[in-house]
Symmetry: C2
Subunit: 348 residues, 2 copies
């Protein structure tokens, strides 16, 4: 049975578990807050769902609970940081602090990271500059390769996601968070859990035939959006978030679902762009609201009841889950109970 | 009949025509060079093909031949420029100069432009930072709306393209240049010219049914890559390249194919990112070559003879056309002859 858990309750549990796994209170609180935001925002495969895996990785020596994050390269508007093999949440929080501080003066800043790990949903980091009146843009190398180059069958590319957050006025901020594949691999796993068939277009097998049985996903190849275009985007994002930072990309990417002990050397980057470097921020936010209204007012295709904006579902889901709690399915609750017993902490 | 014209011959003709339309020799040379590069690179719908339209726009007062380009906002790593309603080629060349000069110090620079016009293919500008050992990233608001928001039928969005260029060593640079729609509108027009049917997936009509007759394109809606994802990308790119710069986006976009007299207020932005701010440039270029080799060496789907990299066709096409000339079809040659007669200049 699904149980609805208040955000605060979940946040405290996650912090408790991370603390028991060796994280300092400050690090545990920071990471618990971001993981809870993932769940509040509806990214169910990227929040507390990942907690047992993160703790397994810390215990197996694949990830450092309290990393020393070092600035390796520094220019007025750029930095390259070494995440000390810490959780991506902590590494990219630091990257965001640096990027925002720089962009206040320079107008824009680009901060890359190497020696990091899975950071949860991309929107968390793109959204960080919003509070400062800035636009955020985040790209990551995905934590497992499930896609070949276009026309190929070797798994050399990941879902390499991009997220962009743009401030608005009365409307929710525009927040795009998307994989460069038609379906994120998490959606495949969800379909498998539910015994559902996948739509044609998500995956093919190594003969090029559509693969719709998610139980056979390990034989399959994720398809990029727009065919060669999505392949190109995934490749470019990998070069910028991985190769340029001295982080893993291509054949070097470790499948973090299959292997909890190896260092992943995950790469990401974050751009903070100060709206005030271009125009009056209030005027800009009003203009974003106007674009929002234009899209909403469009005539619609038959059967379509509403035009949606990127970030709208996120805002609705967060409001709803703050009010009624985060729905956690029974199998996940069982895993969290087991984890709590293992760690010797109070359960959720 | 198709005639093959040497790049130098084409460049001189275009410069002659632009000069006769009132451009200074320096401006005409700059624009002719970029337009010829478009043709050399295989972007046949974005090079000399556009010359009669550009000159029509200058004569109709819709575009200024010799614009005064002004810096409106300036920070260490950002600038907003007013293109003085000049050709996008001249405006974004200036933007690239500013971005490259800033990025040499700051590591990255983001330069936006308003009051610009169609600039030809996106790759031209993304490629400009390459010569300085930098990565380039260019985004534009397209010059006509052919796409609705996802689920809608009002034409509020354009093909808003992105181009990214990344330096390599022995291999051609990685150059991605893509519309956020499945097909660029130019491909629809090409299909119409040839009397061909469009594949399902390029366009739908206002009932949501596939539209495959390119002669009916004016009733149709271009489809985004990846459904809502491509819609989201197009929207985000429009907000960043248009709205943030005080340029047209959404309902404000003028269809420059249908209207040569109205000011389009086209917006674009260019990012220059200095590789040396992250790692040794030679080491980076070698790493890009290695990724190139990894993709090439992938096993292939049945029937696939070669894995392609973004920018590979561009490099091959340029080499081939430098050797054997640019193929110009008879109808285009006729239009260029008519233009030459109108301008009182020597024909091509």
């Amino acid at each position: 049975m699904t149980r609805h858990v208040a955000g605060d309750t979940l946040r405290e549990f996650v912090a408790r578990a991370l603390g028991a796994a060796g994280m300092t209170p400050a690090n545990a609180a920071r990471m618990a807050d971001l993981m809870t935001e993932a769940d509040l925002g509806g990214q169910d495969g990227h929040g507390v769902f990942r907690l047992p895996q993160y703790i397994r990785r810390i215990r197996a020596g694949g990830m450092v609970a309290n990393p020393e994050i070092a600035v390796l390269q520094d220019r007025p508007a750029t930095a390259l940081i070494d995440g000390g093999n810490g959780p991506g949440h902590l590494v990219m929080s630091r990257a965001a602090e640096i990027a925002i501080a720089k962009a206040r003066t320079t107008g824009v800043a680009w901060v890359g990271a190497r020696q990091s790990n899975h950071a949860g949903p991309a929107f968390l980091y793109a959204r960080m500059p919003l509070a400062e009146g800035m636009i955020g843009l985040y790209v990551a190398v995905g934590s497992a390769n499930h896609m070949p180059p276009w026309g190929g069958t070797d798994l050399l590319l990941s879902t390499n996601p991009i997220a962009v957050a743009i401030p608005s006025n009365q409307r929710p901020p525009i927040v795009l968070d998307m994989a460069t594949t038609v379906a994120a691999y998490g959606k495949v796993k969800t379909a498998a859990d539910r015994g559902e068939t996948m739509p044609v277009g998500w995956m093919i097998d190594r003969t090029g035939a559509p693969l719709t049985d998610p139980a056979r996903a390990s034989e399959g190849l994720l398809l990029p959006i727009g065919g060669p275009k999505g392949y190109g985007l995934s490749l470019i994002f990998g070069l910028l978030a991985g190769t340029l930072n001295g982080a893993a990309f291509g054949a070097d990417v470790v499948d973090f679902n299959a292997d909890s002990a190896s260092v992943t050397n995950t790469g990401h980057f974050l751009i903070a762009l100060d709206v005030a470097a271009f125009m009056d921020p209030a005027q800009f936010r009003a203009a974003v609201d106007d674009i929002w209204a234009q899209m909403k007012a469009s005539n619609r295709l038959p059967g379509v009841t509403d035009i949606r904006l990127p970030g709208e579902r996120l805002a609705e889901c967060r409001a709803e889950r703050l009010a009624t709690g985060i729905p956690l399915p029974a199998p996940l609750l069982d895993r969290l109970d087991t984890l709590a017993a293992d760690l010797g902490i109070a359960p959720l």
